[in-house]
């Protein structure tokens, strides 16, 4: 449709036909006030704030429900319009409690802003206000009823956006009230989207309410540290006795791949960082007991022991993490090979990225970004339950279907919630995902395994035909598809025009851990250790034989062959349920936040900072690279990056060979300034734009980012974009050849909406929600 020309306040504007007047004005820099209007949610016309004068219309019209028409002449700001807005605010304030001084939203409240703008400062109202008591709806959602202005945003975001439909309106007239789905409480996904979207302080967060005033916080934009989806989040931090405390997580910066979205973990589960059990001092085992020590002592001991063992050809194992930054994972991978001289490196694998890299080698543009999942005209999802395991991905899919009418094809052994959005849901027998891939790729015989009472050969044939006919299909698969099945699925995708893939892994930097080569047989970028090439040139002296996988290290420990184990942010003993005495003959060093099962039996425990407390980068499950900003700080902890460098140093290794630091201008990037660096590090952006080098110390992770950009295929992104906070897609097309490895090593984390591995165990917010659930179930059972 051709564009429409209209005039607003004498300005000529053009907008695509079908645009809402409020949006057309916004894009021309004319702000129309609104409460109930919210982009991408259904229209309400309820608050009447957006009234404007349209020529030839006798009454003022709502800009939020009016579609632009050719030649429309609009006045958005005259006496009549201003008076209308003023009186709306006046009317709202009539029954509003005006407890701004103690309200959570004070200072960031749209009602305050409107009152300020339209000057309804003098109150005409002198009647008693209607009062309704405050309610707690769940451990994390509180409702202060008198503050509600009935904009219905919460109702819509919960229903339309989350597909939970837990909120509604009760009663009518001035007694109208927002109500939760279970009489006096909520049973829902606890995402807190309703809180975030509330323009006033009516819905408040159990984790944050009455904790601080908004202006007392610094706001740091960083990336969520929980699942593999990589939501951008804004952390509100405040000085505390032990450093910088994170007091709030929300989503005020809507520029991220997650747009409006955060799930319960991203919004509330930052609280593990200030759990009282947090380690704040190194521990060294003395006389059988873990005893507080200082850093120098600890590094000296580790350096000495690691060097001895290495020099006596003793076996050393390294276990990395899926929650450390790319820089740390890369450094650890390099440290193992170059300093410890071993390929015994592994991590908890939750997806088969090496197989995907192998299958996509030489195929550019074949992985989808998280943003593309929201735009793709068609999506095929095999396995996984994104609502639980990938909340953002589920949001993208759901809202793509709702707003862009994307066709969702679901193939799953369970009936999952996304089935409600699916154009077609095909249930398969458990464990037959690989057969599905084979059948789709053209192996007609494979259909036998997936024919069920409901799905005949013909159904499958019809589905395959439909999928083959799609364009720009995004094919998403969970850990059910692994090993050779990945290549088979990719083969099917090659036959679909413009198809792209997303491989689902479970932790915040699972993808980065894989890309950075935390594998016994693979270097960063899926280069085989056995092949020669640029890593061998740069790193020099990489051991040529494939190292041990994690289970093999365990076996070696059982046989008393493993002399040292270096665990960075992982808990293999807890996760695999191992006998802690297994490692009694091994010198074990653990970098951790808490005394996990693994840390508990270590010889040295180093207190680590988490991803909210350091800068660096994460790569999400789609391959979108994003920057982390240091937000919180707990005195006494160090980043894994710093600890690795310090250990190398203590081993007598020339750290210049590990981290290429010190060239160029001497200035730093915010690692030390932390929260003061603001939401986008403007200082760093400025340096980058002028070609100045920010590397000043070997403890500065950007120092190694250069090397990553240079050596890891797919990571040759724009540094300035990264620093500005923009997500950038890395590709697997030019990776090393990858490998088909032991698929049995892939074990999904199986976290649900309310759990998150070790971090989840130390999050009060997640606990309180889970506890409230069990209580309620027992209550129901008692009925």
């Amino acid at each position: 449709m051709p564009d429409v020309t209209l005039t607003v306040d004498g300005k000529k504007l053009t907008a695509p036909a079908g645009t809402l007047l409020i949006e057309a004005c916004k894009s021309a820099g004319i702000e129309i006030p609104s409460f109930c209007y919210y982009p991408n949610l259904s229209l309400q016309g309820a608050c009447r704030m957006c009234l404007v004068k349209i020529e030839k219309m006798p009454k003022l019209q709502t800009a939020c429900t009016t579609v632009v028409t050719e030649g429309m002449i609009v006045t958005s700001d005259n006496e009549e319009v201003r008076q209308a807005r003023k009186s709306m605010v006046e009317l709202l304030l009539g029954n509003h409690p005006l407890d701004c001084p103690v309200c959570d939203a004070g200072g960031e409240c749209e009602l305050q802003d409107m009152t300020f703008s339209y000057g309804a400062a003098e109150s005409k109202y002198m009647e008693a206000k209607n009062h309704k008591d405050e309610q707690q709806w769940s451990p994390v959602v509180f409702f202060d009823r008198p503050r509600c202005i009935l904009c219905y945003r919460c109702v819509r975001v919960c229903g339309e956006g989350m597909d939970v439909w837990a909120l509604g309106v009760q009663n009518r007239g001035v007694s109208s009230i927002i109500a939760p789905n279970k009489e006096d409480h909520l049973e829902c996904e606890e995402c807190g989207m309703c809180i975030d979207i509330c323009p006033v302080g009516a819905l408040t967060s159990g984790a944050y309410r009455y904790k601080t005033r908004p202006w007392e916080m610094k706001h740091v934009g960083t990336i969520c540290t929980h699942c593999g989806d990589g939501c951008k989040t804004t952390l509100g931090v405040r000085r505390s006795d032990s450093g910088m405390e994170i007091v709030r997580g929300d989503n005020r910066d809507k520029s991220g791949i997650n747009n409006d979205f955060l799930c319960i973990k991203g919004r509330y589960a930052f609280d593990f960082a200030h759990h009282p059990d947090r380690l704040m001092q190194p521990l060294i085992r003395k006389n059988g007991k873990l005893t507080p020590a200082n850093w120098e002592e600890a590094f000296e001991l580790i350096g000495k022991r690691f060097a001895e063992i290495r020099d006596h050809d003793g076996m050393i194992g390294v276990v990395g993490s899926s929650r450390i930054t790319n820089e740390e994972a890369y450094l650890l991978s390099k440290f193992a090979r170059v300093v410890l001289k071993t390929n015994n490196v592994d991590h908890h694998r939750t997806a088969d990225f090496p197989a995907l890299a192998a299958a996509l080698s030489g195929k550019p543009d074949s992985t989808a970004t998280m943003r593309e999942v929201y735009d793709a005209p068609a999506i095929l999802l095999i396995g996984n339950n994104p609502t639980d395991q990938h909340p953002l991905l589920a949001w993208q899919i759901r809202n793509n279907v709702r707003l862009h009418r994307s066709r969702l094809y679901l193939i799953n052994s369970q009936t999952i919630k996304l089935g409600r959005q699916a154009a077609g849901f095909t249930q398969i027998p458990a464990g037959t995902e690989g057969k599905v891939a084979a059948y789709l790729a053209g192996d007609d015989a494979a259909v036998e395994a997936i024919i069920t009472e409901k799905n005949s050969r013909e159904t499958w044939n019809a589905l395959r035909e439909k999928l083959r006919g799609e364009q720009k299909l995004v094919i998403i698969f969970g850990s059910e598809i692994r090993g050779n099945d990945v290549a088979v699925l990719v083969k099917f995708g090659s036959g679909v025009h413009g198809a792209k893939f997303v491989c689902l892994a479970d932790y915040a930097n699972s993808r980065g851990a894989a890309d950075m080569g935390l594998y016994p047989d693979l270097l960063p970028g899926y280069h085989r250790v056995a092949d020669t090439g640029k890593f061998h040139d740069e790193w020099t002296s990489i051991p040529a034989t494939t190292g041990l996988t994690l289970p093999e290290m365990v076996d070696a420990a059982k046989a008393s062959k493993l002399k040292a184990l270096y665990v960075v942010g992982a808990n293999p003993i807890g996760r695999l349920g191992l006998d802690p005495f297994l490692f009694s003959k091994t010198f074990v060093v653990v970098q951790e936040m808490f005394l996990t099962e693994t840390a508990f039996m270590a010889d040295v425990v180093l207190p680590a900072a988490n991803a909210y407390e350091k800068s660096g980068t994460f790569t999400n499950t789609c391959g979108d690279l994003q920057i982390l900003k240091k937000a919180g700080e707990v005195t006494g902890t160090k980043s894994d990056f710093e600890m690795i460098v310090r250990i190398a140093d203590a081993m007598g290794f020339d750290v210049h060979k590990l981290v290429p630091f010190g060239a160029g201008e001497r200035t730093d990037m915010g690692q030390s300034r932390g929260a003061q660096s603001g939401e986008a590090d403007r200082h760093a952006v400025w340096l980058e734009a002028r070609g100045l080098e920010p590397k000043m110390s070997p403890l500065e992770p950007t120092a190694i980012l250069d090397e990553i950009q240079r050596l890891v295929p797919g990571y040759d992104f724009s540094r300035i974009n990264l620093l500005a906070g923009n997500d950038q897609h890395t590709t697997l097309a030019n990776s090393g050849p990858g490998a088909i490895q032991k698929p049995e090593l892939i074990v999904p984390a199986n976290d649900n909406l309310f759990s998150s591995g070790t971090l989840g165990r130390y999050s009060k917010a997640l606990h309180s929600v889970m506890e409230s659930r069990t209580q309620q179930t027992s209550e129901v059972a008692a009925d």
């Binding site: 229209l43 309400q44 016309g45 309820a46 608050c47 009447r48 704030m49 009234l51 006798p58 009454k59 003022l60 429900t65 008076q83 209308a84 009186s87 709306m88 006046e90 009317l91 709202l92 009539g94 029954n95 005409k124 109202y125 002198m126 009647e127 008693a128 209607n130 202005i149 009935l150 309106v169 009663n171 009518r172 007239g173 001035v174 007694s175 109208s176």
Partner: protein, 439 residues
């Protein structure tokens, strides 16, 4: 059951069968029942619409929109089913006419819906009956069952090869659900909250299909127009205001009741002759001409023709035909308060100005009437109402604001008489709890 009244000036069209036992389908058939619909079968849909247009019939629900015109907006072709709705939610204070139609002549409503369905090409009709009219639902239920039993409804009606189903639906007790789009929401099983327009019901209505919605009286008039002809019907009224209307006379009158009078009948005559004048020798103080939503008229303003255009010219509205007469024993402040109580109670709460405005006005008027008023309250009441007017999501907000503005403007003196702790001059001493005066 309400007893029927009559007056020689009446022209009985819609009320023709009142008191004749026409709830019985055989009796209805004897009284020319279901003849109009059979005649309509022989007509082209456009011919039916034209006939209704030419009759000058205007909606009896309140807004007075040309019925034929409304029907002509329904698209001929539609992918979605089309619907005809009869609005029998009658809840406007002062209005009690649809109830007589349902009580005495339910088949006329059914027949009207049928003709409308033929005209717009619909196969489904709904008759929505006010929640409080439970006993009328029972009458309607039986009438529908009888019509089905005779083959007038259902498959192949009157052997015409056409199918038509009509259902009744009861409200749950909300004035707002009489608003056409809220009625559709309610029919769909949702909260009774109006919809954003455009799109208008004729294009996107019930379940998203093109929909005609008319008042029960409007629809009950249609069979008479088809049988008697547009020309005859139009001539009964005034130009542009065809036919008759059921006027509901209430308040301080000798002979209150529902009278069917030609459109354009003089209001003074209506009060003093048809209604028998003011009892007990009292003086006329004010008249609400068209239901509680319409601005009040002063005694010197009642020499008007009761048709949509003339009453509008006089600054009020013909509305739903509820003529409420007040004598000089009535307190206007109390009347304004009573009116606002109604709107506050019935506001659906969807939009700010109506939800908050009616609450605020009711509170202020309560205090004011009890003697707690300040001079600036009078201006405030007017300011508030004027700021609601024309800015609410649906016309209920206007319905609350318009009469209030008129009360203040036309009876300012009476408001002033309540000021500064003075007891209401119309109440016997001690009848109103005195509130403290606010500084």
């Amino acid at each position: 059951m309400a007893s029927l009244v009559s007056h020689p000036d009446e022209v009985k069209v819609v009320s023709r069968r009142f008191g004749q036992g026409a709830t019985n389908i055989d009796r209805y058939l004897e009284l020319d029942g279901y003849k109009a619909v059979q005649k309509a079968f022989a007509m082209e849909p456009d011919a039916i619409i034209n006939e209704v247009k030419n009759s000058g019939l205007r909606g009896r629900g309140g807004a007075g929109f040309s019925t034929g015109m409304k029907w002509s907006f329904v698209p001929k072709q539609s992918a979605k089913p089309k619907y005809v709705l009869c609005n029998g939610d009658e809840s406007e204070p002062g209005t009690c006419k649809d109830r007589l139609i349902f009580e005495h002549d339910p088949h006329a409503v059914i027949e009207g819906v049928m003709i409308a369905a033929l005209a717009v090409g619909s196969q489904t009709g709904y008759i929505y009956i006010r929640g409080e009219y439970r006993y009328l639902s029972i009458i309607m239920q039986k009438a529908l069952a009888d019509a089905y039993a005779r083959g007038f409804l259902g498959k192949n009606i009157f052997g015409s090869g056409r199918d038509l189903d009509i259902y009744w639906h009861g409200g749950a007790g909300a004035y707002e659900v009489g608003e056409e789009s809220a009625l559709m929401e309610s029919l769909e099983g949702k909260r009774g909250i109006p919809r954003i327009r455009p799109p208008f019901p004729a294009v996107v209505g019930l379940w998203g299909g093109p929909t005609v919605i008319n008042n029960a009286e409007t629809l009950a008039s249609v069979p008479h127009i088809i049988l008697g002809g547009a020309e005859w019907y139009a001539k009964v009224g005034t130009p542009k205001n065809g036919g008759t209307r059921l006027f509901c006379l209430s308040g301080n009158l000798e002979k209150p009741g529902v009278y069917e009078l030609p459109m354009g009948y003089n209001l003074r005559k209506m009060i003093y002759e048809v209604g028998g004048g003011i009892p007990n020798g009292r003086e006329l103080k004010a008249v609400v001409p068209g239901g509680s939503s319409t601005p009040v008229l002063l005694p010197e303003e009642i020499d008007i023709s009761m048709d949509f255009d003339s009453v509008a010219k006089a600054g009020s509205m013909l509305g739903s035909g509820g003529v409420v007469v007040l004598d000089d024993t009535n307190c206007i402040v109390k009347f304004a308060l009573r009116t606002m109580k109604f709107y506050r109670h019935e506001s659906c709460g969807w939009c700010i100005p109506c939800r908050e405005g009616t609450d605020w006005l009711e509170k202020t008027l309560t205090r004011f009437h009890a003697g707690g008023g300040l001079k600036k309250d009078i201006d405030n009441i007017q300011y508030l109402s004027e700021n609601m007017l024309g800015r609410t999501f649906c016309p209920l907000g206007d319905a609350a604001a318009m009469p209030t503005i008129a009360f203040v403007k036309k009876f300012r003196k009476e408001f002033e008489d309540h000021l500064e702790g003075r007891p209401c001059p119309f109440e016997r001493a001690g009848a109103v709890e005195q509130l403290p005066v606010l500084a």
